[in-house]
């Protein structure tokens, strides 16, 4: 099984430096790309069926295609690597950032070349201190060796790259809020249209891509779209970093073919539930995805299959709920997070989420009311996509709506027993 994204990575060891990275075949993709036209690079990525790994699964090449090209395109153009990774339960980009920074840098340069960007930023979350140090070092190294800066590798193409370390907020991961954060503003999202591809950073054409998305790019160029597609077990190309956390025997993260089944990940790689714990359900791709339960275990973890379970692939990092953990408590924890992280821009989110949190808190503390279930349910509807300004609140509604569906009895017990059945007292 090929693991292009992680073949240089061994946890606990220093990442490859530039020489080692080159030796392992690194920067060959870039050399190839520079010999192609930007349009050809875009075409290659399009051919590969690469879909964004940031959560929404938008086809990468299609996103790029909206950037104005040609001499009269507005300048400068920007490429931003979204390394904010703050969604609870998600820890995949961190591995790539810490484990193989040059792979990401190469991916960024190629992608920037494809859209003819002038400046690239890596927007890194504050907590990733080690990643920051390694990225900083690798960027400097790449600069010194002519991979960044003026006339890269003797081509006519130039690119500046800067690391921006965030001051911390989940909202910063939302691509338009991220742009505001980069501009030194509050991370409120922006309305779309206009899309960042047209009017992004400082009003200029901008592409925002996830770390994992960008790390795929060198391999696509290097080994071709057909090879890339062949890595996958589904229509979406490539491999995927899948992670598992919660009460499983072997929590961790693995690079597997896109479309590996939940069961395989859970049972083979995470080696099943810890002794004494039963599986009740899981959030397949981070805190903002719908629960799936035992009946869905044979579904493939890819963008389209997960829709069949009314859920989403999201970031591909699963959070497992066991039988000794209160689902209402888990949802309270999640909704507390979302309510805390609401940027405060649109009413349904800033007010609705804190109300949801309040209701769940009451329920956990034995003050639940019969009418609460309906209130929660209506909120999951009212916070749906399109109702709020950005996808944060709809994301918050997903685990709740599916939680109400799959764990309804547990909610009712809270209300009837006027306490949390899982609490010791």
């Amino acid at each position: 099984m090929e693991t292009p994204l992680t073949h240089n990575i061994s946890p606990g060891r220093e990442p490859p430096d530039l020489a080692q990275y080159e030796k392992a075949g690194g920067y060959a993709g870039l050399r190839k790309a520079l010999g192609m036209s930007p349009a050809e690079v875009q075409a290659a990525v399009k051919e590969s069926n690469l879909r964004g790994r940031g959560g929404a699964g938008f086809p990468t090449a299609q996103k790029w295609s909206f950037v104005p090209m040609g001499d009269d395109a507005p300048r400068p153009k920007y490429l931003v690597c979204n390394a904010d990774e703050m969604e609870p339960g998600t820890f995949k980009d961190r591995m790539l950032l810490e484990g193989d920074p040059h792979q990401l840098i190469e991916g960024i340069i190629i992608s920037a070349y494809a859209i003819q960007a002038d400046v690239a930023y890596v927007f890194l979350r504050w907590a990733y201190k080690l990643a920051a140090r390694r990225m900083e070092g690798a960027i400097a190294e790449a600069c010194r060796h002519g991979y960044l800066g003026k006339n890269i590798l003797g081509s006519a193409y130039s690119l500046e790259m800067h690391l921006h370390v965030s001051a911390g907020r989940y909202m910063c991961g939302e691509e338009t809020a991220l742009l505001n954060a980069l501009e030194g503003k509050r991370a409120n999202p922006r309305a779309k249209p206009p899309y960042p591809q047209v009017s992004g950073l400082w009003g200029k054409p901008t592409i925002v891509n996830n770390v994992e998305t960008l790390c795929n790019i060198p391999h696509i160029l290097n080994q071709g779209a057909e090879w890339f597609k062949s890595l996958s077990r589904s229509d979406d190309g490539g491999t995927k970093l899948y992670g598992v956390s919660g009460r499983v025997k072997n929590p961790g993260i693995w690079e597997l073919p896109m479309g590996t089944s939940i069961r395989e990940i859970l049972e083979e790689h995470a080696r099943g539930m810890c002794d004494g714990y039963q599986f009740r359900g899981l959030l397949p791709g981070g805190a903002s995805t719908d629960f799936v339960t035992a009946e869905h275990l044979d579904l493939a973890m890819d963008f389209d299959s997960m829709k069949k379970a009314d859920s989403r692939l999201g970031t591909g990092t699963m959070i497992v709920l066991d039988d000794k953990t209160c689902p209402v408590g888990m949802l309270l924890n999640l909704e507390h997070f979302f309510a805390q992280e609401s940027c405060g821009w649109c009413t349904p989110c800033w007010s609705g989420l804190s109300w949801i949190e309040q209701i769940l808190q009451d329920m956990e503390e034995g003050r639940g009311r019969a009418s609460d279930l309906e209130l929660l349910e209506s909120h999951t509807r009212l916070l749906g996509p399109g109702h709020t300004f950005c996808a944060l609140a709809p994301g918050a509604a997903e685990p709740l709506q599916s939680g109400l569906k799959y764990f309804r009895d547990d909610f009712e017990r809270h209300i009837h027993e006027k306490r949390c059945p899982w609490s010791q007292t």
Binding site: K129, A167, R169, W202
Partner: protein, 167 residues
């Protein structure tokens, strides 16, 4: 007034952006790095340097959670309170830390040594529960491990007269 060092660091970052405003978050972080937190004076200093209004900086400073507008202790303990860590027993650790330090989340020990803050997911969920102390991640925590870590910070301080853990 900004120190020479602070000014130089801010200027170095300012080169990455097309305008002054964009560097303001970095500037606040730099001031925090040097002074431990961002006081009203820190806000005023950055405002002056970047030709911004204190209100504009406050607007940014109060939005982001890693800019401390209240004084914090010498070491800041960020205990992950998000979902995976919660499932893996974060609450127990919170209580344990609270007992050991004699403070509640959000507070600073009387000797000014530790501040305990709950924090969102630290991105190490496969090794939950997790916390950070200053710049260091600590994973797979349980009460004994926490005691060890606290002890090491106390130890380090005694031996090296502070200056710990800026690794």
């Amino acid at each position: 007034m900004l120190s020479e060092q602070e000014r130089r660091e801010i200027e170095a970052h300012a080169r990455h952006y097309p305008n002054n405003r964009a560097v303001c978050i970095e500037a606040l972080k730099i001031v925090q790095q040097h002074r431990g937190w961002v006081s009203n004076e820190g806000i005023a200093d950055v405002a002056e340097a970047l030709q911004m209004k204190p209100a504009e900086l406050e607007s940014v400073a109060t939005f982001y959670n890693m800019i401390f507008r209240k004084q914090v202790g010498k070491h800041v303990i960020l205990l992950c309170d998000s979902v995976s860590c919660w499932i893996m027993g974060y609450e127990r650790l919170r209580e344990h830390l609270g007992d050991r330090l004699g403070i509640r989340p959000g507070q600073t020990t009387a000797d000014g040594r530790f501040t305990l803050l709950p924090n969102v997911c630290l991105g190490a969920c496969d090794h939950a529960p997790v916390m950070m102390v200053d710049d260091m991640h600590y994973q797979d925590l349980d009460p004994p491990r926490i005691d060890e870590i606290l002890a090491s910070y106390r130890q380090e301080e005694k031996s090296s007269d502070g200056n710990a853990a800026d690794s």
